[in-house]
């Protein structure tokens, strides 16, 4: 019984530590989808954190995993949020083919792109070729 108590106290301590508080703060601000947020999307393997830092955007990698879909969807619902997609790791001969292929890949980025498509927001997304910090012409603008 005493060991269980020690374990519970340890867990309580860990959940109230400074690192956890920082994470909680980030989650709250992300869920609120602050006006004018810039959200970077793309593959971890293609340097999403660096890409986000380079363009001055946030990313969702540090949102608690059991919250990230709700946080993302709150941004999709907020017209003042701008999405920036790094196409590193996508495959295809043209940008639109790369993006549509990624949607079918089963990746989290693919799921996010599907949500943006269903919300009619793909024409407002900034897409970037790998290694580039200037968006390409949006292939979904008619």
């Amino acid at each position: 019984m005493s060991q269980l108590l020690v374990c519970l106290l340890t867990l309580l301590f860990s959940l109230s530590s400074p690192a956890m508080e920082r994470n909680a703060d980030f989650w709250r601000s992300s869920l609120a989808a602050d006006s004018g947020a810039n959200i970077a999307l793309g593959s971890r393997y293609s340097g999403l954190r660096t890409f986000a830092s380079d363009i001055g955007a946030d990313h969702l990698l540090d949102v608690p995993n059991n919250q990230w879909k709700d946080v993302f969807l709150s941004h999709v619902d907020n017209p003042s949020t701008t999405f920036h997609v790094n196409m590193g790791g996508f495959f295809g001969d043209t940008p639109s083919e790369m993006i549509l292929n990624e949607m079918q890949s089963g990746s989290h980025t693919g799921w996010e792109l599907q949500q943006l498509q269903q919300a009619g927001r793909l024409p407002q997304v900034n897409f970037y070729q790998p290694g580039q910090l200037t968006p390409i012409p949006n292939p979904f603008i008619k």
Binding site: C7, L11, A19, R44, T50, N65
Partner: protein, 120 residues
């Protein structure tokens, strides 16, 4: 440096998911400890661990901690990544990743973790 998490219980590496880099460490229910504990590291990109171990202390440490590990894990760090020292009984490892979350519940060993988004 204060510990983010400390336990004397047994843990295993339960799963690693490539997308989002989710590394789940889990301690199962026992007669002595009738709860399940999950420790979830996100965006994991480098690590040195044992597949199972008894007792663990997790500390967030400076990147200099990694210099003694030959796999050159510091090379994997991007903006916002954290370095965690993972201390077990008679061994020392590390995890390079994003945030870490913990949860204690009464779930079964192979039941889904409440820390991970269910598939929709």
């Amino acid at each position: 440096m204060s510990a983010l998490f400390e336990s004397k219980r047994s843990f295993v590496i339960f799963s690693y998911a490539a997308s989002h880099g989710l590394l789940l460490l889990r301690s199962r229910k026992t007669k002595e400890f009738p709860t399940r504990i999950d420790i979830l590291f996100q965006d994991v990109r480098a690590m040195e661990l044992r597949s199972w171990f008894e007792g663990v202390t997790i500390e967030e440490v400076d990147v200099a901690f990694l210099k003694d590990f030959n796999s050159n894990p510091a090379q994997m760090i991007e903006p916002g990544n954290k370095v965690y020292a993972i201390k077990g009984r008679e061994w020392l490892g590390f995890i390079v990743g994003g945030i870490v979350s913990t949860r204690e519940d009464d779930g079964e060993f192979f039941a889904p973790s409440g820390l991970i988004e269910p598939s929709k």
